[in-house]
Symmetry: C2
Subunit: 346 residues, 2 copies
């Protein structure tokens, strides 16, 4: 298997995408990897797989790498004898946040006919926006955490009990997110959130809620990970976050009933199929009073959630032949020909 | 004003995009236009504005034009002395249907920092899918025509009274659309629709319903068109459709009350702002029992709905300084630097 890993991007999660990408080298032991870095300025660089490490980027040394151009059929590098395409079977989109998860990379891969592992454009647009994720879940019969929605120009009034959590609808990580414990704190938290986005959602903040993560994909059959109960901390400091995105060994299943696992899996499948086909995603669920509620969809999870799978590399290989491709549209100019004949100009 | 018009695309509406683009030459009398054609294979061609006509494309002669490449900052052409960018203030996305309206072009313009007139990515993804358009309208307090949704794998049962109209959720024009007058016709109509899409919506078909079109945009203030009552025919033949996409002179306002105009405008504004900022869109409304219902959003209407405006060219010029741009994200590698220091490697 030969895959190109696309990482970086003009995203608040640029740096953790680098961590995710480097982690893949440890995970995909039998895979030939080509690394394609998207700089903050959105130039493509071809990174030497032997030399990749975090400092290559923080030092700016990556700028000495060859620049690639994206054209019909793939990524190309200039050589003495013209341009040459980067060999690979498939591109793995590992750009977290903007560019990767908002649908830009998916759009470009489809436009240029490059096979890719990632949520497609529509799935990206819906899951990148926490409000649209609510619509999606609702339409699929998946319950999610209760919410209210405010635009920047709306009156700042909520009807939910405190404490609440305020989230800008479009950003990942914890950017612009606040927990508000009483009404007096609402205004400031909204100021912060509206710095980042025109829209926010407000959800009840449930102290000590049970959270469970489920990842998976559909190859020629369902391939579901174990269910993990992640360690919870209100905010992760940088070192914990680094650990989180560089996880590369399998973790233990949550100690929960078979019935609960089935409920979580059922919700995952409803969300995944068919919209997220072609991706390996992770969904984070809360369990409140025995009810499974969607908390969020991670369409491109940290280090691809490899640590939740027994055979991540094998799954990736099985996914490649089942990636969806846009249908072809034949352009035959029949309509213009008809007009021309009607006008006697044909 | 100097604009580049992007047209064509890998779309069922490729040919009518050509008609729309050519019409713009008649409408934008005081504008310098550069034409960029997207072929069915999705190569970019630089088309001579003096020579543009429908036959240039149907004959394949366009292939003699210069090929352009899309890179950071715009479209580039190879010259004897390296590459040279195509001068223009802004790109007008005039690709109807796939590529143009589904978010691909918007994604690419944003990625490559090219200023453009068109719905942005999120607006595209939502309005390209008729089911998501329903979610959107609902969330904004805009009433739309009643509907039911079926996936290909669902049981083929509807609870609505006949006649109904069946529409694939993702295609424009009338592709895959059928009117079904009684239950016995449902199965065949669904077969046809599922040929084109995994999802369909079913709406009541209301014989002789009153339809009104409203176009507009937000520059530094609202610029709303007149309201038109379009001529209705169940299906347009090719000549009528040609006429429809090549309209270039202003039409008359519908003969309706001021109160109804205001209701239509109010609904248009709710749908447009802020999601569709940067675009000139047209919304088609039905009026049933005095109630205004959204029928569809045309995010890139035929010939940009120029015929609904008194001063289309002036509006385009006023829109350019008010186009939204993505916010910059500064990548400072602070996080990787911290990790490196913590590890004693900095």
């Amino acid at each position: 298997m030969h895959i190109a890993i696309l990482f970086g991007g003009s995203s608040f999660e640029h740096e953790i995408s680098i961590v995710s990408a480097i982690t893949m080298k440890k995970v995909l032991k039998n895979t030939q990897i080509s690394y394609i870095f998207v700089s903050g300025e959105r130039e493509f660089y071809f990174i030497d797989t032997q030399k990749i490490n975090a400092k290559l980027f923080s030092s700016g040394e990556y700028k000495k790498s060859k620049v690639l151009s994206l054209k019909q059929g793939g990524f190309f590098v200039d050589t003495l004898f013209g341009t040459k395409s980067i060999d690979c079977e498939v591109v793995l989109n590992l750009i977290h946040g903007r560019d990767g998860e908002d649908g830009k990379i998916a759009s470009m891969m489809e436009f240029y006919h490059v096979p890719f592992i990632s949520p497609r454009m529509e799935a990206s647009a819906l899951s990148y926006n926490k409000l649209y994720t609510k619509f999606l879940a609702e339409s699929l019969g998946v319950k999610s955490v209760a919410y209210e929605h405010l635009c920047a120009r709306d009156e700042r009034k909520i009807s939910m009990d405190y404490p609440v959590i305020i989230k800008p609808v479009r950003l990942g990580s914890s950017i612009g997110v606040s927990i508000v414990r009483e009404a007096s704190g609402l205004d400031y938290a909204l100021d912060v959130a509206f710095e980042f986005d025109s829209d926010v959602i407000i959800e009840p903040f449930i102290e000590g809620v049970k959270e469970y993560n489920q990842a998976g994909c559909y190859t020629n059959d369902w391939e579901l990970s174990i269910v993990e109960e992640p360690q919870k901390e209100e905010f992760l400091d940088f070192e914990k976050k680094y650990m989180d995105f560089s996880r590369d060994s399998q973790v233990l299943s949550a100690d929960i009933s078979e019935a609960l696992v089935l409920k979580i899996q059922e919700n995952f499948k409803k969300l995944y199929d068919p919209l997220f086909r072609g991706s390996i995603m992770r969904c984070d669920f809360f369990v409140v009073d025995g009810e499974v509620l969607l908390n969020e969809i991670n369409p491109i999870p940290g280090s691809m959630a490899n640590y939740l799978f027994e055979d991540f590399e094998g799954m990736l290989e099985r996914l490649i032949p089942h990636l969806s491709h846009e249908s072809g549209i034949s352009i035959d100019y029949q309509y213009i020909h008809s007009i021309q004949s009607a006008k006697g100009k044909a």
